[in-house]
């Protein structure tokens, strides 16, 4: 029972889907951001796996940059949340619908 | 001066419009009149310098615009366009000179001058894109005129006018681009020059079956695409419904220009584009279009009869007359096409005058409903007389301008179909019905309405506008030759071109050969790298 690349890819996909579930069902913005982290992480698994099976380092590079991006996003995202929280004292996305139509 | 007279004709009014911004409000009408007069004089000068024996283009100008894409600023005038240009200049002059005081008169006059630029441009452009440019641009001033100075439903009317024609012309634009593509395929060079396109023969018949009604008949598709744009402008039945609103809501000057010039763009384009570019398709669609034209003639005349608003009567009568023009155009012979061009002039003069006349009474009474009038002949005999003359010109009485055009158009089409011409000929009956009954309702009978008892007759300003029109309407009815000769000269070359280009036997048979040599002025086109 060898673990092939496909195993990792399927796992990555499942995790990605879990991330999508989180993204879609979370109403608390902080929790929503957590879900986006899952998305990126799941892809990382696949990258590293491919890298491993192809014997190529590029995938790891990609994963590395994805981590960097995830970290930056957290910074900016939290910054935005703080500003919003200061004004409205909540971070519920249902309150954000002053613009519509 | 002669080398660039066409450009001067086009851009002088616009330039004057810009300078008009600096003119004080009170003097604006005088300024506008002066500018329009100069423009009119220039157009007369053009007529004077025009060589009526030449059938091709004259005073050609060419300037590269987007040479890489084959778009060039090409102008030229021939017998087909000359008189419409003169008419446009004439009517702008008359229109501005007879303008009654309204709000924002400065804006109105500047808009009119811009409108004039676009109108003249449409008729002089010999490059499809430049043509399209002016064609579309003409919508804007008209939109503003209707929308800002119109009646209570003006916004609806103006937006409808704009969007309807805009939609149609976008379809036409695709057709134009297609045509250019075919030209590119055939020659390897992009060109939008109409005269270049004239030399392009598109096959109509299916190579295997010899059938012309097949999906691969590009002439047919292109014809339809162009026709869509033109038909809405003309307006052909059933695309005519914007017109009554536009006329009904537009201020007098707007209706006058709309009826006299703007509608002619459509029929002019039929002759300039459709016929020479797609002779086989023209023959294919001759009868369907003729039937539409006949429906247009009879149906709209009946609708006109049912109207309660005198301006709507004139508006619908315009549609009806445009039907005759279209019919004459699709006669595809010299008599018919010359007649339709002449009728364009005639209808321009007559319907323009009728709208001016309706404007006169609207100025006085703020109503256009016929039930509010009756017996006006008692108090306004001069008005009644001029209205009567114009009405008779409108119903096509011989020795008035419209008769010449109608006669020739019908005569031309008679050679294609006898039965249809008889139906189309009912124009002279149904036309008389609505016109006479409208005239009767307005002018005859006892003067019952108290408000009408003290209406002043035409004043000097109005007479100044109307009398020239009466003179023209009768003069050209009696002596149409100065116009008819150059027109038919140019039309002959168009017909001959169509005959030469026709690929199907049916088309060769339907389009007569003039048996005279024609020269299409060739334009140089830059190579695409």
């Amino acid at each position: 029972m060898d673990i092939g690349l496909n195993h990792y890819l399927v796992l990555s996909t499942i995790l990605f889907s879990i991330g999508l579930v989180g993204v879609m069902r979370r109403k608390n913005l902080l929790m929503l951001f957590l879900a986006t982290e899952i998305l990126l992480n799941s892809v990382n698994i696949a990258f590293v796996a491919i890298s491993h099976y192809y014997g190529d380092l590029t995938g790891q590079m990609f994963a590395f940059f994805v981590i960097a991006i995830a970290a930056s996003e957290v910074a900016v995202g939290l910054g935005l949340l703080i500003v919003w929280h200061k004004r409205h004292n909540n971070i519920d996305l249902d309150t954000m619908s002053s613009m519509r139509g | 001066m002669l080398d660039h007279i066409l450009s001067i004709l086009i851009f002088f009014p616009a330039l004057a419009g810009i300078f008009g911004l600096g003119v004080a409000k009170d003097s604006m009408r005088a300024y506008g009149t002066a500018v329009a007069f100069i423009e009119f004089a220039l157009s007369l000068f053009l007529w004077f310098s025009f060589d009526p024996t030449v059938s091709g283009m004259q005073f050609m100008e060419e300037l590269p615009l987007v040479p890489a894409f084959g778009i060039n600023y090409i102008l030229g005038v021939d017998g087909i366009s000359l008189f419409i240009v003169v008419l446009a200049a004439f009517f702008t002059f008359i229109g501005i000179a007879s303008l009654s005081d309204t709000k924002n008169i400065k804006n109105l006059i500047i808009t009119l001058l811009f409108l004039q630029m676009t109108m003249v441009g449409v008729f002089l452009a010999l490059d499809a894109i430049v043509f399209y440019l002016f064609w579309e641009l003409s919508l804007v001033p008209m939109l503003y005129i209707i929308g800002a100075w119109g009646g209570p439903k003006r916004i609806y009317a103006s937006v409808k006018f704009f969007l309807y024609t805009f939609t149609g012309s976008l379809v036409m634009l695709v057709g134009i681009l297609f045509m250019a593509y075919f030209y590119y395929q055939a020659t390897g060079v992009w060109s939008f020059a109409i005269l270049d396109w004239y030399r392009l023969i598109l096959p109509a018949e299916d190579l295997l079956t010899g059938d012309i009604w097949h999906m691969g008949n590009y002439q047919m598709w292109l014809f339809l695409a162009f026709f869509m744009g033109f038909a809405i402008k003309v307006p052909m039945f059933p695309f005519h419904t914007w017109l009554p609103y536009a006329h009904g809501q537009a201020p007098t000057i707007g209706s006058v220009i709309l009826a006299a010039i703007l509608l002619k763009m459509g029929t002019y384009a039929l002759i300039r584009f459709l016929l020479p570019l797609f002779p086989d398709a023209s023959v294919m669609f001759m009868f369907p279009i003729a039937i539409l034209a006949i429906i247009m003639i009879i149906y709209t005349a009946m609708v006109a009869y049912a109207q309660e608003d005198v301006k709507q009567v004139v508006a619908y009568s315009s549609v009806s007359h445009m039907g005759v023009i279209v019919l004459g155009t699709f006669a595809l012979n010299v008599e018919g096409i010359s007649g339709s061009i002449f009728l364009m002039i005639g209808h321009g003069v007559v319907s323009g005058a009728l709208f001016l006349l309706v404007g006169v009474i609207y100025d006085r009474r703020d109503t256009k409903m016929m039930k509010d009038f009756g017996g006006l002949a008692h108090v306004m005999p001069r008005y009644a007389t001029i209205f009567g003359i114009m009405m008779m010109a409108s119903v096509g009485l011989p020795l008035t301008i419209n008769f010449v055009g109608e006669f020739l158009s019908l005569l031309g089409f008679y050679q294609q179909s006898h039965i249809l011409t008889i139906f189309a000929g009912t124009a002279i009956i149904v036309g008389a019905i609505y016109m006479l009954s409208a005239y009767k309702k307005m002018f005859f009978g006892e003067l019952t309405n108290e408000k009408n008892k003290n209406l002043p007759d035409l004043n000097k300003r109005e007479l100044f506008a109307l009398v020239p029109l009466v003179v023209v309407a009768i003069w050209l009815g009696i002596y149409p030759k100065p116009l008819l000769t150059p027109i038919s000269n140019s039309v002959e070359s168009v017909v001959q071109l169509m005959h030469d280009k026709a690929t199907t036997d049916e088309a060769k048979r339907r389009i007569p050969s003039i048996a005279q040599e024609i020269i299409i002025t060739k334009t140089s086109t830059k190579e695409m790298h």
Binding site: M1, D2, L15, H52, L57, Q60, G79 | -
Partner: protein, 191 residues
């Protein structure tokens, strides 16, 4: 065999953790589950021989990102139960399941990896970190620098947005109010 067991174990754990992270109504649980999931993921990295990334994963995610989130959580006071109005669950479940199934269908077919040539082959005998370093500072130097810029941007953004600068909105103030504000500021500086 060991690899298989490890894969399935960690796969199971990761899925469970992430599932908890996206479904629980306790913010703290969610955060903890996420952190755990991250660490389990780093396990995959180690399995796959990407030691450097594994380490980075633990350091950056469990160390930095999670700390930030924890801080945020405290700031926003979301430690108590999350009250989330739920939308249509079926849409959420349906869409994500569908997405998963669709991709899985495709992925269940083996990839034809015939003519794949590794651009930067894993060199035998060198440590993963060294290899990474080599590639990162040659081929991926530019992205690395850009990432640096990105982090700088993120930093400035964080400072600007979360700091005091956004407290008083000049956008909403009229000119007079702004001038008054400036005067006060100057006073503060002077005093």
């Amino acid at each position: 065999m060991f690899e298989a067991i490890a894969f399935y174990l960690f796969a199971f754990l990761t899925i469970i953790m992430f599932y908890i992270a996206v479904t629980t109504s306790q913010a703290l649980y969610a955060l903890t589950a996420l952190a755990a999931g991250m660490i389990f993921i780093s396990a995959f990295f180690f399995i796959l021989g990407a030691d450097f990334l594994g380490a980075v994963q633990i350091v950056v995610y469990s160390g930095a990102v999670m700390a930030l989130y924890a801080f945020g959580m405290m700031f926003f006071d979301t430690t108590r139960d999350l009250k989330e109005k739920k939308g249509n669950k079926y849409i959420v479940a349906g869409l994500s399941t569908l997405a998963a199934i669709l991709v899985v269908i495709i992925f269940s077919a083996p990839i034809v990896g015939d003519n794949i040539k590794a651009l930067y082959p894993v060199v035998e005998g060198a440590g993963n970190t060294q290899e990474i370093g080599l590639v990162l500072f040659t081929k991926y130097l530019v992205p690395f620098e850009v990432a640096a810029v990105m982090l700088l941007v993120a930093m400035i953004a964080g400072i600007v947005l979360a700091g005091k600068k956004m407290d008083a909105s000049l956008t909403l103030m009229s000119e007079e109010e702004i001038q008054e504000l400036e005067k006060e500021k100057n006073k503060e500086v002077l005093s």
